[in-house]
Subunit: 468 residues, 2 copies
């Protein structure tokens, strides 16, 4: 696996100092401190004037911090943040998160400030995340420095996606939106301006983290492009790596240039390199989230033949159309079911049901028909991926359908992707599916796209000579 | 405009009879009756055994109905429904909605039953919607025969989209999903098995309905294809016509064949014909809803040059990428802003903001910066369509941003499409935007696609020689 800095203490710190911690609701220093309480770690608020903050005695200055602090989150504004970071580094704290903006992204004065930050690792050995970053969020550990509103742990956590984002807004908005339907996050990292730690460092960390099943990265400019690609190729033999490299058209690249002050790589070069080095590419935040939550949770597809089960014929038709329409990635096709499979489905469905592919159970569908159809498709060697329209509108379908699908997902024989549309209750049903272990989407198009990501994943791994 | 049956009494009936109306909660005959109470029309429940239903005295049989009933909704099961329909027709009721399934879609016996229904118009003059249909839903009139859960009037209504769906599930699920973020429905019609009234009849009706601004149709098979196309070409000179013709790939077409017992038209023929006759094509229900809610609400685009305003640079980048990536429809490009426009935006934004296109207001954005940027773009002749990232996360952005955008939408100078991502609150913010008159989407990709639909609309109208 790639070698890189040992980041274990950043993600599993013994004690955490919050420089600029505040008792005033709404302040960044308050939000950050509050977000760390659930961690159960030893916390030190650092503030010259306050007595206690959320019951923790404030330390008046960085120099007065006791030993054993592995992480300092610096919440004060830019200029003071640099002073504080230098003080923390001198104090021997190995990891610093600098949340303030007002650095390189704001012009010459900011660039000079950022240069002082960037000098710290070499001068003192401390490693820096940021500046201009939301920091880190680890739902499983109750560590959360994100000082903006985002999804609840229950919806965001519990899974294997390591999500690394250069842009805080993309990170948080995508995280929150994905979490509406259950995301399965292992860790979130906001890279910010990357004055020190960058995407390659975190790629190496999460590659070695057994609880990480899939990496998703939003990157605008690569600091060490060649090394990143080579590392990604090693990682993606074992774990999917999905990258949203914004700026793939000329106009997009020009936009990146104004946004980050960097030149985006020529897009076609990026595209070819990603393919060669085993990276799957996403083109917006929805794709990045959809891909990672799918790839982290589901077994690989052993082929590209898709079967669809639905109680609403029209969704079978639209699904088949989406499957057969050429798309940007993952060539897939509708499976041809064996006569044995058709017979098994015919035996439990009315005469007017369609037992081809898509399997249309019709509006008389009930939970047991779904179960029988899914079982038949799981045992049909001509089917590699199953899409199921988990629609709860037919009178015979109960909430038990969630369990019917979940049980078959648990067997792990083939990837099963659900989709459901149920008006205002759509997200609630998708969450219930997710909590039961079923990856689902609110539209047939996104479910088919998820199937493409699974097939593309298998292609990438085969090309790299990884396990198939 | 196309001539066809006069359907006014179907959509504006003086009195309505519900055959099989029931006082038992959950029964179709109960749900249908309840859904008509808000209409304020004279209602006659028809039931041999019940006394009163929701305070309305039941009529024991169809023959006992008084004069003046323009519409009978027949909620009893298939065989009895045919008898009831014949009785209603003999009684002289001009419009019948037959909701029961169990007709042509279920095999030979059902086909025979359906043939009896299909004979009614010629024998008695009554016109039939269905069978196997959810019927009609007119939020503005409180008329709602949809007996399955769907979106509330407040979210579904208040607009100019006439939505006609051959599949009840597509109709309701799409309607409900679209309504989560505000749909703007004028009318919903479920075509069902089309034993009599079909898509062409409703095309003609809504073409002549001044309150209908856009037609959206989900059709699996066309009863009278050539006539439909010719009528659509006449309609689309004045109003957008968007059609989802499922089954456009071979596999999709095969699925339609099992689903409806009809052969789907060869896809390429459909595609070319749609273009020639001014129809815009959608490929799934999400597209159909996105397209119609956009086209019904926004002014035509006078060109294809898009500007993007965002407080989050990354979304400008992704948006520019989506704009510049070739897609299935509506070739668009990023606008080049004039120096005057750039100066105007520069005057109200910090130095580190990007005043090219996309306009990146950065995280220091506030309502007034959005206002100034939108005003500048509205007055820049090089900009045809504006996309605005209505993100409420930046500290300087307040709920007042909704009004800022809405005011500029109201001027009607250029189409303005919003998008917002705000975690679990995304839909709530989209509803607030919608209620203020702003069409918004929960992802940048869907907002860009909406821009493509606007440009495609202008192309279609120009090709037909309609007003430009």
């Amino acid at each position: 696996m790639p070698n890189g800095p040992d980041l274990d203490a950043l993600f599993n710190p013994r004690a955490i100092a919050v420089v600029g911690a505040s008792a005033t609701p709404g302040r960044v220093g308050n939000l950050v401190f509050e977000g760390l309480i659930a961690s159960g770690r030893t916390l030190y608020p650092v503030h010259p004037g306050e007595g206690t903050i959320h019951g923790h005695a404030a330390v008046r200055e960085v120099d007065a911090l006791p030993d054993g602090v592995d992480l300092a989150v610096i919440t004060v504004a830019a200029e003071r943040a640099v002073d504080a970071a230098e003080a923390c580094a001198r104090r021997g704290i190995p990891f610093l998160i600098v949340v303030a903006g007002g650095f390189g992204e704001t012009g010459a004065a900011g660039k000079a400030l950022e240069a002082r930050l960037a000098a710290i690792p070499e001068r003192f050995g401390s490693r820096i995340l940021g500046p201009n970053t939301l920091g880190i969020y680890l739902p499983h550990a109750g560590i959360d420095t994100l000082f903006v509103e985002h999804a609840a742990d229950a919806l965001a956590g519990g899974g294997g996606v390591a999500f690394v984002a250069q842009s805080g807004s993309v990170g948080v908005e995508a995280l929150s939106l994905a979490s509406n339907i259950g995301f399965g996050l292992r860790a979130f990292v906001g890279l910010g301006n990357k004055c020190d730690l960058d995407e390659l460092d975190f790629l190496g960390h999460f590659a070695a983290d057994d609880a990480t099943a899939c990496l998703g990265l939003y990157v605008e400019n690569f600091e060490r492009g060649r090394a990143f690609l080579e590392a990604a190729a090693r990682v993606s033999r074992r774990k999917p790596v999905v990258v949203l490299k914004a700026g793939h058209t000329d106009a997009g690249a020009a936009a990146v240039s104004s946004h980050t002050g960097q030149l985006a790589g020529a897009d076609r070069v990026v595209d070819g390199a990603f393919r060669q080095f085993g990276i799957q590419r996403a083109f917006d935040d929805e794709e990045l989230c959809d891909a990672t939550r799918t790839l982290a949770a589901l077994p690989p597809a052993s082929g590209s033949r898709v079967a669809i089960v639905t109680p609403a014929g029209a969704y079978g038709v639209m699904g088949a159309d989406h499957v057969e329409t050429p798309a940007r990635r993952g060539r897939i096709s509708m499976a041809t079911l064996t006569e044995a499979t058709r017979e098994r489905i015919r035996a439990v469905t009315p005469d007017f049901a369609a037992v081809g592919n898509p399997v249309d159970l019709t509006a008389v569908a009930d939970d047991s028909m779904f179960a029988a159809a899914l079982d038949a498709l799981l045992e049909d060697d001509g089917v590699d991926i199953i899409l199921v329209a988990a629609f709860f509108a037919p009178p015979g379908v109960t909430d038990g359908l969630v369990g019917v699908v979940a049980e078959r997902v648990r067997r792990g024989l083939k990837p099963i992707v659900a989709f459901t549309e149920y008006g205002p209750k759509t997200d609630a049903y998708l969450r219930r599916l997710y909590e039961a272990g079923v990856i689902g989407f609110p539209s047939v198009g996104r479910a088919v796209r998820a199937a493409r990501f699974l097939v593309e994943r298998a292609e990438r791994r085969r090309a790299l000579g990884g396990p198939s």
